[in-house]
């Protein structure tokens, strides 16, 4: 018996891979080649080595995948240990991707997990094009949207027809407390992340005037300490931002919030709540991560082997009251800014100010800090507004108050918009109409 390929190792997988069945996917050919493909060739990218990522690595490695790559920019924190089971106390502070990969490679013979302690944005199209499937276990919506945009940018079209060989499936999982969701995205073929952006609840921010003048909830007091008292008092030195992981920082905010709460007779300010509000903490538990990551791994397995039909295309999970799931086909948005082939128009009155266009980009397309450039008739690029580089921001800020007409923009002008939510800029065509009320 070999120490790495012992008798019976793939007993369970062989049953469903080497036997056909009337309920298997119509494309499925039962043979021993499928397992070989999984073991030797199939390259899977796991994005995120946190709660879902750890589970995914284990699940994929035990479902016959070996060429697994994992990317994560985070290091291990004590609060990860209640669910991120590849990490031990002694690993706190080390890169998640590396520790997770090592653990799997040591436990499972011939597993070949390659870690990347890096940001997803550090890699380009050549890197992402090398995978058969990408599976995301992220808590950041922006990162999800970026990966989605990256996989869409790899699509090729011939005479308007999508080349199916350019499609890299994306399996996406998410959790929040006892709730979770799993989806299978075939970029360009079914609903993508941007098609269904409204599925993500908007982050709730308390109005500043409530925080400043009419606090009622303990959260209002914590936000007062965080947003108004901290920048004014700079308790740990000039320009030192709040570090949600530094207990001294959280204590300071907690004490200030408690003082304010006492002044108003508000109950319920605790250290735990203060930390939760400051860090936007999302509750998490091992079981939900296990369930969602298992469902994701099953989809990767079904996509790679065709031994059963894949999820079409969205499942929600909630086990607060019994165990509830709901599976449905999320619909494509025919004018999706990311995956539709339709040119995107921005229709505005010529007397509208640039700031209103920026506002439109933020609300309609949920962009975070869009930068806008245009090309003039000579083909030269001209920056209209760029928020992320302070010198350019300063120079272009006056443009925000100018109308589109004053900026010399004509009907049909091209606006190129760049944002952190997408790896590529998005081209819009300006449809201008003359003002009605002149």
């Amino acid at each position: 018996m070999s120490t790495t390929n012992w008798n019976g190792r793939w007993f369970h997988l062989r049953k469903v891979l080497e036997r056909g069945g009337p309920l298997a996917h119509p494309d499925f050919q039962a043979s021993n080649e499928t397992l070989d493909f999984l073991l030797e060739n199939c390259k899977v990218l796991v994005v995120g080595a946190g709660g879902l990522g750890c589970e995914l690595l284990k699940n994929l490695a035990l479902m016959g995948f070996r060429q697994i790559h994992v990317i994560d920019m985070d290091t291990i924190d004590v609060s990860n240990l209640n669910r991120q089971f590849l990490f031990r106390h002694s690993d706190v502070g080390k890169p998640k991707a590396k520790v997770a990969a090592n653990f799997i490679n040591e436990r499972i013979p011939l597993a070949n997990v390659t870690p990347y302690y890096a940001k997803i944005q550090d890699y380009d199209q050549d890197f992402y094009a090398g995978f058969h499937v990408v599976v995301c276990g992220l808590d950041s919506i922006i990162a999800r949207r970026w990966i989605n945009g990256m996989l869409i940018s790899l699509l090729t079209y011939e005479d308007g027809e999508l080349d199916p060989s350019s499609v890299i499936p994306l399996v996406d999982g998410g959790t929040e407390g006892f709730k979770g969701n799993v989806r299978v995205i075939l970029p360009g073929m079914n609903a993508c992340i941007e098609c269904t952006l409204d599925l993500f609840p908007p982050q709730i921010n308390f109005p500043l005037c409530t925080i400043a003048h009419t606090p009622r909830l303990p959260e209002h007091c914590i936000e007062y300490a965080r947003l108004l008292q901290w920048p004014k008092e700079n308790p740990f030195g000039e320009e030192i931002p709040i570090d949600g992981d530094d207990p001294n920082h959280i204590s300071w905010i907690y004490e200030k919030a408690l003082q304010r709460a006492n002044e108003y007779g508000i109950l319920g300010v605790t250290y735990r709540l203060a930390q939760g509000v400051v860090k936007h903490i999302i509750p998490a538990v091992a079981s939900t991560n296990a369930v969602v990551a298992a469902a994701c791994a099953l989809e990767v397995f079904k996509l790679a082997s065709s031994c059963a039909p894949k999820l079409d295309n969205y499942m929600v999970f909630n086990d607060t009251d019994g165990i509830y799931t709901y599976t449905y086909a999320a619909e494509r948005n025919e004018s999706c800014v990311a995956c539709s082939q339709i040119p995107k128009d921005l229709v505005f009155d010529e007397n509208v100010r640039l700031s209103e266009v920026m506002e439109h980009l933020s609300t309609t397309y949920q962009m975070k800090s869009p930068g806008v450039t245009t090309t003039d008739q000579q083909g030269r690029n001209r920056t209209l507004y760029l928020p992320n580089v302070s010198s350019i921001e300063e120079r272009t800020r006056p443009n925000l108050k100018k109308t589109l007409k004053e900026l010399g923009l004509k009907d049909g002008a091209q606006l190129i918009v760049a944002d952190v939510t997408s790896p590529n800029s998005i081209e819009f065509h300006l449809k201008l109409h003359a003002s009605m009320d002149t």
Binding site: K15, R19, N248, Y271, A286
Partner: protein, 546 residues
């Protein structure tokens, strides 16, 4: 029950840092319950160790693995906690070691015996566990275990991963939940039945004497109350019920309440934020205050009326029942919390205190009923503590109770639940009832043949027809003579699986089952009632009641 949460960083232990993300779900008292629990896993299969993994990580007190098998090559291939280097060693021991590595707070123990051996040599063995989890048992062993635990009143969670199908069966005779944490809980505002403190507060507020700033910073509850006064004067004691009435009511809020108040620059009376909030709340805040049906069921239960057992839940439930019938005038103790709403701080907090004080008075009444009940029955005063009564009252509108059924009786049963039209279910290839029956049929096959259908590569075809026989005999046993499948596709698929335990299916079932165990232990959130079927071919799940 509720322990105070840490107040300052000096008090934050490493433990509460480690468990921070889950403490936000079940609180320090839930964690204490988890840490005092001990569970038993029968058979360290992939499904079994995946369940334990999601119990060890959040910090269960202790676990014991009962398993008489040795690690096989097949086990090492699908189980993360059975290392290939330990092939041939006892499964119970190997899995215990690797699971304990996950969390140094958790104690782990193992017994290298089979479930059957334990049941015959030491029938009381399982009595000491909070929950018993069973995987990889034959129907016969499961039958014995189920009877044993049912009679000893120990909850049992049976989990199965079979090819692309999974199932969880929960056996618990009675499970009562105070903190069910419903996703959509109606606010408990009592606008239709204002208690004296609320009436007094509302009457002290005179909208007509306000300037516009004061008006626009008045909590919307006040606006609803005042509009309701006008409504009742004109339309009688019933609140607006249908769409038309609600529109009229909204007009009162918008146009009449602020009438005559000089508006500030740039604003119109009727467009204030609090007015908008009041209009939005018309649909929910005016609902009639009554005892919800899930709670009424508990208050009318024999356990509550007879009160034969000295059980804290039922004693308090009985006290609440007496409160409802006496001081409560037909309604439950007040919850005592308020949703956030546009308001100046002072009036919001004053209003909040009005609700808090009444809730505290109501709980005080219930506490007195508890003491009377204890005295009448000669039960010790410390059988119930006051904090439990407060918690119970606060959550009294979300109480839940599950009365389960015995698995052994289900296996002996001569029929399926009356509301199931089995012939119709057999027509649908994705029906969860069909998959329930298929899982029973493969167990019957195992009982008759000593192996699962399709376990051996050479027998797949012949096993399909044998399984077909098992399936129709099972239907006969269940009183469904002549019932049959129109096609063999599902039977074929079961034979294709050949009892394969796919790791990802085991992990899915493992995560689900672990959370059910945590619900049973913490008595928070609502457990499954009582059979869960997962079909990973269609990625759908269903819950059946057996």
């Amino acid at each position: 029950m509720a322990s105070p949460s840490p107040k300052s960083p000096g008090q934050i232990s490493d433990k509460s840092k480690k468990y921070d993300r889950q403490l936000r779900l079940w609180g320090d008292h839930g964690q204490t319950a988890l840490e005092s629990a001990n569970v038993c896993l029968i058979n360290a299969t992939a499904t079994g160790t995946e369940i334990l993994k999601s119990l060890v990580l959040p910090g269960i007190g202790s676990f014991t693995i009962v398993d008489g098998a040795l690690v096989s090559g097949e086990d090492a291939g699908n189980n993360f906690f059975l290392d290939h280097s330990k092939i041939g060693k006892p499964r119970a021991h190997v899995a215990t070691q690797l699971l304990k590595e996950l969390n140094s707070d958790v104690k782990g123990d193992y017994i290298e015996e089979t479930c059957d051996q334990l049941l015959s040599n030491n029938p009381d063995f399982f009595c000491s566990f909070s929950v018993v989890i069973a995987t990889g048992l034959t129907e016969k062993s499961l039958h014995s275990l189920s009877s044993n635990l049912w009679h000893n009143n120990v909850p049992l969670v049976v989990s199965v991963s079979y090819g692309f199908i999974g199932s969880i069966r929960l056996q618990v005779s009675e499970h009562c939940i105070i903190e069910s944490h419903p996703d959509n809980l109606l606010e408990d505002l009592r606008l239709d039945k204002p208690f004296p403190g609320l009436k007094e507060f509302m009457d002290s507020i005179k909208l007509s004497e306000m300037n516009h700033k004061q008006f626009s910073h008045t909590p919307y509850l006040v606006l609803l109350y005042k509009a309701l006064e006008i409504w009742n004067e004109r339309h009688g004691p019933n609140p607006p019920l249908n769409y038309k009435e609600k529109e009229i009511f909204k007009n009162i809020i918008k146009n009449e309440l602020g009438y005559g108040i000089a508006k500030e620059e740039d604003s119109n009376t009727g467009d204030e934020e609090n007015v908008a909030e009041a209009i939005k709340a018309v649909n929910t805040a005016l609902t009639k205050t009554q005892v919800p049906s899930n709670v009424q069921k508990i208050l009318n239960d024999d356990q509550c009326i007879q009160l034969k057992e000295k059980n804290s839940f039922w004693i308090i439930a009985r006290a609440v029942k007496e409160f409802v019938e006496k001081e409560g005038n037909g309604v439950l103790p007040l919850r005592g919390s308020l949703p956030d709403m546009t308001s100046d701080s002072q009036r919001y907090i004053a209003l909040q205190n009005v609700y808090r004080e009444q809730a505290s008075k109501d709980a005080e009444h219930v506490w007195r009923h508890v003491q009377t009940i204890l005295k009448e029955r000669g039960w010790a005063g410390e059988s119930v503590i006051e904090n439990d009564v407060k918690l119970f009252c606060k959550h009294s509108s979300e109480l839940r109770m599950i009365r389960g059924s015995c698995l052994a009786e289900e296996l002996d049963g001569k029929q399926l639940p009356a509301d199931v039209d089995i012939n119709q279910q057999l027509e649908e290839p994705d029906s969860p009832w069909l998959h329930y029956l298929l899982l029973r049929a493969v167990n019957k096959f195992h009982t008759e043949n000593g192996s699962y259908p399709g376990y051996y590569d050479d027998n797949v075809e012949t096993d399909i027809s044998k399984l077909k026989g098992c399936f129709s005999r099972l239907l006969n046993d269940l009183g469904c003579q002549g019932g049959s499948l129109s096609k063999d596709d599902n039977l074929h698929e079961m034979c294709r699986y050949g009892a394969a335990e796919l790791h990802a299916v085991a992990a899915f079932i493992g995560g689900c089952a672990a959370q059910e165990v945590i619900k049973l232990i913490t008595k928070q959130y609502v457990p499954l009632d009582n059979t869960f079927i997962f079909n990973s071919v269609t990625t759908t799940t269903a819950t059946l009641r057996l």
